[in-house]
Symmetry: C2
Subunit: 127 residues, 2 copies
């Protein structure tokens, strides 16, 4: 293993070693847990997905309250959680507030979860 030249990630590659390679430290675990917690609610997952799927990659809150069966304050609360977790950004433009996803944050989590390979080792003997 020559340790020269740190790898440069070509467009969307992961930034961090997968958590299956080496044990997470307490600090990293705490920070990552906070991000995953933001993803641990069905409404927030759908919100995130909906925002990212919108044309232009952003949506105003007025577009987000319709598809859900929860109240407007609840949507606002969930958006705040997503924002404070660093998963989305927001900006006010005149009357409306727009939200967009932050790809780097999602890709960080994605890279972290990536498991090397379907591991052919033992223990595949069912349960």
């Amino acid at each position: 293993m020559s340790k020269q030249a740190l790898p440069v990630f070509p467009a969307g590659e992961q930034c961090c070693a997968p958590m299956v390679r080496e044990p997470l430290g307490e600090q990293d675990a705490g920070e990552l847990a906070r991000m995953f917690k933001a993803l641990s609610d069905p409404v927030r997952l759908r919100l995130l997905s909906l925002i990212a799927s919108f044309e232009g990659g952003e949506a105003c809150v007025c577009d987000l309250t319709g598809p859900f069966e929860v109240s407007q304050p609840t949507i606002s609360h969930h958006l705040k959680v997503l924002r404070e977790a660093g998963l989305v950004g927001s900006e006010r433009r005149g009357t409306w507030v727009y939200y967009w996803v932050i790809p780097a944050a999602l890709n960080r989590l994605s890279g972290l979860l990536h498991a090397p390979t379907p591991v052919p080792a033992a223990a595949n003997s069912g349960t």
Copy 2:
């Protein structure tokens, strides 16, 4: 209990379209939220990482109670949560119970979170 008949993807392929491509359905969101909720605790994240990092890809509970400052019942509880989320498997061998991660589950979440690219368009930089 014949749980896993999950298809095995050739090294890192994802099974599902990223959630940033099209809005998640209610049902998918509910299932995925349950998996992310299992990842939303620092102890569980470290447990998962620790199990995967062990030689052979599996660890017995006796190896997992030491590195944490929580009680043995709490570790057992967290392992149950991870198992019921489909993220790890377990098996009793004599006196000890062994746990291992299920790569397909992690890769599913990984593929789902993957964002296409750091999006260059964006008239809105900052914040």
